[in-house]
């Protein structure tokens, strides 16, 4: 029995794949006891529908389930000219309707607030807030918020989704995005979620998210406790 689900499955265009599989499963004509053409077509249709559902369900397995999340992260940036990766660590808090607080603690203390409405604030360790208006920051903020929020519709719209080696690959559909970002790998185990972004300039960023908590809500107090930041930071988010 061929492994139907280890192949490349595109949720949108798998009818052909499914028909081929049905054909290979039941090659004999009706008189030989197998499915007829109509039967094979129905088989393909059902397989497509179910494989789409399956793909969507599989993707869900890799995405956050709760609207509110807090936790810790470790970020490793690999640049082609540097032997050892650049490591940063910190804490975060996320609300699916407000946005993300990303606090880097080592090697520098810096907090970035990515709001769902597109505004981005950079708050320094001495609580000086500066709004970041660049397109680069806006794009990154949007991507992080959608990933953290598990926005499946967004991901399916922007990426081709591929399951391999126990993880999921998100490949940008737009050629313009591909010039900057080649692929996002997401791998998940009980302890952590590892997101690896491979960029076009051979730069790789791996974010390991661990100690994930799902509070019932994210208010200022929960946010401050999770991120250990001054009041200004969570106020900017909420």
């Amino acid at each position: 029995m061929p492994n139907l689900f280890s192949n490349f499955i595109k949720p949108q265009n798998s009818l052909y794949n499914s028909f081929y599989l049905c054909n290979s499963l039941c090659p004999l004509p009706p008189s030989g006891g197998g499915l007829g053409r109509g039967g094979r077509f129905l088989c393909a249709l059902m397989l497509t529908f179910s494989s789409n559902l399956l793909a969507q369900n599989q993707l869900k397995n890799f995405l956050p389930e709760s609207c509110y999340q807090t936790g810790e992260f470790k970020q490793e940036k690999t640049l082609p000219s540097i032997e050892q990766p650049l490591v940063a660590q910190g804490r975060f808090a996320f609300s699916c309707d407000k946005g993300l607080v990303w606090r880097t603690q080592t090697p520098l203390d810096e907090t970035t607030v990515y709001r769902m409405d597109g505004k981005i604030w950079l708050i320094s360790e001495d609580a000086q807030a500066q709004e970041l208006k660049s397109k680069v920051h806006r794009q990154m903020g949007k991507l992080l918020n959608q990933l953290m929020g598990g926005n499946q519709r967004f991901l399916e719209k922007m990426f081709s989704i591929r399951f391999a080696d126990g993880g999921v690959e998100l490949i940008p559909k737009q050629s313009r995005m591909k010039k900057f970002l080649q692929v996002i790998d997401i791998a998940k185990n009980e302890q952590e979620v590892v997101i690896t972004m491979r960029q076009a300039d051979q730069q790789t960023m791996t974010i390991s998210v661990s100690n994930i908590q799902n509070p019932a809500s994210l208010d200022e107090q929960v946010c401050r406790e999770a991120t250990q930041t001054p009041a200004l930071v969570c106020q900017k988010l909420l």
Binding site: L79, L108, M140
Partner: protein, 808 residues
């Protein structure tokens, strides 16, 4: 005896045949070349305008700027449902991305990544002369702690999300900070994210897509293909999402619309002209054989003109074809006069009569018409030069065809013009009230007096909008899209001139200081875009280099950079030495704005005359307020292609009026050479009256005069001379006939002139129906002027007929 009078019929025939053979060989060569190169129809409206400026480099740069702007397209998908807009937008992106694989694809997304890559590589070669805003401040303060903190942020944090400059060349990320600031300024919005706007008082979600053409947007073939491609894409999207609306912005849509309406004009005018003329000729001659000479001469003349001009210019402008279609009305005159004269000779049993008077008349007619058209060639407009050459060469070739083929094709041609003769006789009878030279003089003086009286009140219009037929729906859509999407004016710029780069930057800095103090000039969050947004002035680069010394090469301590590199284990390519080597290695704009650069307008032009830098103006800027701020800043000026074209057209109109007088005088000399002074004055009176009366009538109709009205007056002059020359020659011929005791009158030959005038009115008059204001002006002027020419010719014939009958 003058030269013209001394040429015999035999000489006419011999010379005309030889010249025809020679020109036919030229035609064959031109046809071969055109078939090889392919026919190019030019709809480029820029060639209709005079040169933007006297400075050739500025013209070139402005052409480059306009060309760059003309390739931009904005497609906006709109609907009240945001999800629908997003889905349709995705499909549009998919369709355009998949079209890239097709080599014939014309539409691509406007993508600045290549540009930024080139720019970043250039910046990386000068890493010690550029600093971002924050890093500059910290370097000036010599704040090591904060500088270190900023460098950490650039490496690990928010500042390091996009590395345009490699870390080995910019370990602190301070140059990268500068490059990201520039990216923000010049990168087009690659984010097609839908957003809400107000549309007719209601909310609407839009998703704008910034596209570019891969080729010159003003060539006819590109326009058609690009329009088709856009239409196919829109149709596919509408099939999936029928409820979405499309809004468009771009020069291509206006150019395509102008080409389509010109095409419609050509069809209307050409078909109308030919049909009218064929019916008229058939009514008079009632023989297909009689149509051969007119049709052959028209086809031959127009073909020669087309292929010759195409070979000479490399293309034919659509305007040339529109005007050229009216050539039909002039060319057919030669055949008409030829038939009439020969038939008249046959009727009088003078089959072997010398045709010299006919040939003289035809030659004079050709000369005066060619002088009239030739004046267009000094107009300074490339397209009008092409019209002049097209018309003159077409006329000459058609004339030669008539001269060569006439003797064979005129045999056994009969004229059925009894009805026309009656009309002519009736009109000549009516003219009896004015059939004296004195009355003609009074008439002409009266018209000249009215003209002189009204001269100061005449209105003029030099608007470049006369050159295009503006589709108001397209204009409204363009304005709507501009209100939603920020972009720059395609044909207006701020020019900054100087001798040295620093001078340019200083003037820009002064301008920006003044503008910063003013409110309400630019739309919110927009400003002029110039070289200062991409590069630092030489002085600022020097300053940065000095500031960087503290970072890279301090005198008495380990540098901030060295310490940072050590602590973070970064690759260090002997930056201290690199800093030393980079001294005086400034990055100047001319290293970036080369001829190969296609994705950004040429904002910097250097020549032996100096430097010209252009600044782009955001759309919906208050131009009057901006102009006021520019006044008084040395070396800074406002340029508008529309204003410049208007001034150019005004200058040409004024020059053309003077050339018209010159043409009148030149023709007068030719006539005086061939005829006596008195007769010449009679002949000149008619076109002079026609010109003055036309201007008076146009003024009474409240039509403001433009260059194209004046250009048409040249043709009024040429056509008027045709008629009066034939009146003069035919009445001279009749004097000879009178001596031979034949009984003929002006009614014998005048129908030819009437037919000639009617065919001209048919072809030129139809131009007045054109939707293009310039062509419409041309046609209306000719319609009025040539009608008066015909009346004048009748008047002249009436005067001389009276003299003729007195002589018998």
């Amino acid at each position: 005896m003058n030269l013209l009078a001394s040429i015999t019929e035999r000489s006419y025939q011999r010379w005309s045949r030889w010249i025809l053979i020679a020109l036919t060989l030229v035609l064959v060569a031109c046809v071969s070349w055109t078939i090889k190169s392919g026919i190019r129809l030019d709809t480029n409206l820029r060639s209709l305008s005079p040169a933007f400026s006297a400075d050739a480099e500025v013209n070139q740069a402005l052409n480059g700027l306009s060309a760059n702007a003309s390739q931009n397209i904005v497609l906006v998908i709109a609907n009240k449902d945001q999800d629908l807009v997003d889905d349709a937008s995705d499909l549009l992106q998919k369709l355009i991305d998949s079209a890239q694989k097709n080599p014939a694809n014309l539409i691509v997304y406007s993508d600045q990544s290549q540009l930024m890559g080139d720019y970043a590589r250039l910046l990386a070669q000068h890493p010690f002369h550029f600093l971002g805003k924050k890093s500059r401040q910290l370097a000036a303060e010599k704040n090591a702690e904060q500088a270190n903190r900023l460098a950490l942020s650039n490496l690990y944090g928010s500042g390091g999300q996009l590395k345009l400059i490699p870390v080995e060349q910019d370990p602190l990320g301070f140059v990268n900070e500068y490059a990201l600031d520039v990216l923000d300024k010049i990168a087009t919005n690659i984010d097609t994210e839908s957003r809400e706007v107000d549309y007719q008082g209601n909310p609407l979600f839009i998703s704008p897509h910034f596209l570019r053409l891969n080729a010159d947007s003003l060539s006819l073939s590109t326009q058609k293909k690009a329009q088709q491609q856009i239409q196919q894409i829109e149709n596919k999207i509408r099939k999936e999402f029928p409820a979405v609306e499309f809004f468009q912005s771009g020069v291509i849509f206006f150019a395509a619309d102008a080409a389509a309406s010109s095409q419609a004009d050509i069809n209307k005018i050409s078909i109308g002209s030919m049909l009218g003329i064929v019916i008229l000729l058939f009514w008079v001659f009632r023989s297909l054989k009689a149509l051969i000479l007119p049709v052959v001469s028209i086809v031959a003349g127009v073909s020669f003109a087309f292929f010759f001009c195409h070979s000479l210019f490399g293309s034919i402008h659509i305007l040339t074809i529109v005007f050229g279609a009216s050539l039909i009305g002039v060319v057919v005159d030669y055949s008409l006069h030829y038939f009439y004269f020969c038939v008249h000779q046959q009727d009088a049993s003078n089959i072997n009569q010398d045709k010299s008077p006919l040939y003289r008349a035809l030659l004079l007619s050709l000369l005066t018409s060619v002088i009239g058209y030739a004046a267009l060639s000094v107009s300074g407009l490339t397209a009008l030069k092409q019209v002049a050459i097209f018309s003159a060469t077409g006329l000459i070739y058609a004339w030669l065809v008539v001269m060569a083929l006439g003797p064979w094709l005129v045999k056994r041609v009969v004229v059925y013009d009894a009805g026309l003769k009656k009309i002519v006789t009736f009109v000549l009878t009516l003219m009896k009230f004015g059939d004296s030279s004195f009355k003609l003089l009074i008439g002409v003086l009266l018209i000249l007096a009215v003209f002189a009286f009204q001269y100061s009140a005449i209105q003029y219009s030099d608007s470049p909008r006369a050159l295009i037929n503006q589709n108001q729906a397209l204009v409204d859509q363009e304005q709507l899209v501009n209100s939603w999407v920020a972009s720059y004016e395609p044909a207006s710029f701020v020019l900054v001139k100087g001798k040295q780069p620093q001078e340019i930057f200083d003037r820009i800095a002064l301008l920006e200081t003044l503008l910063n103090h003013q409110q309400g000039i630019f739309p919110e969050s927009t400003a002029l875009l110039g070289v200062n947004d991409l590069f630092l002035s030489p002085k600022d680069q020097e300053t940065n280099y000095q500031l960087n010394q503290w970072l890279y090469q301090p005198k008495d301590s380990i540098s901030v950079a060295a310490k940072f590199i050590q602590e973070n284990k970064l690759p260090a390519n002997n930056l201290q030495q690199a800093y030393q080597d980079q001294k005086n290695n400034l990055l100047l704009p001319n290293q970036f704005f080369t001829a190969d650069l296609k994705t950004l307008p040429p904002l910097w032009i250097e020549s032996s005359q100096g430097i010209v830098s252009f600044m782009l103006i955001p759309k919906q800027t208050h131009i009057d307020k901006l102009k006021r701020e520019l006044d008084g800043i040395e070396g800074v000026s406002y340029f508008s292609a529309v204003d410049d074209t208007r001034q150019g057209l005004q200058h040409l109109r004024q020059a053309a009026m003077k050339l018209l007088l010159l043409a009148l005088v030149s023709i007068g000399f030719i006539l005086a050479y061939h005829y006596n002074i008195l007769k010449s004055l009679h002949l000149m009176a008619i076109p002079l009256m026609a010109l003055s009366a036309t201007l008076v009538i146009l003024h009474l109709l409240n039509v403001p005069l433009s260059l194209f009205h004046i250009m048409a007056l040249f043709l009024v002059l040429g056509l008027g001379m045709d008629y009066v020359v034939f009146v003069a020659e035919m009445t001279s011929a009749q004097v000879v006939s009178a001596q031979a005791k034949s009984t003929s009158s002006a009614a014998e030959f005048f129908p030819a002139i009437v037919l000639s005038a009617v065919t001209s009115l048919l072809s030129f008059g139809l131009l007045s129906l054109s939707s293009m204001p310039a062509v419409n002006a041309f046609g209306l002027t000719l319609l009025i002027g040539n009608s008066i020419n015909l009346v004048g010719a009748f008047w002249l014939a009436a005067i001389w007929q009276k003299s003729f009958f007195k002589t018998i």
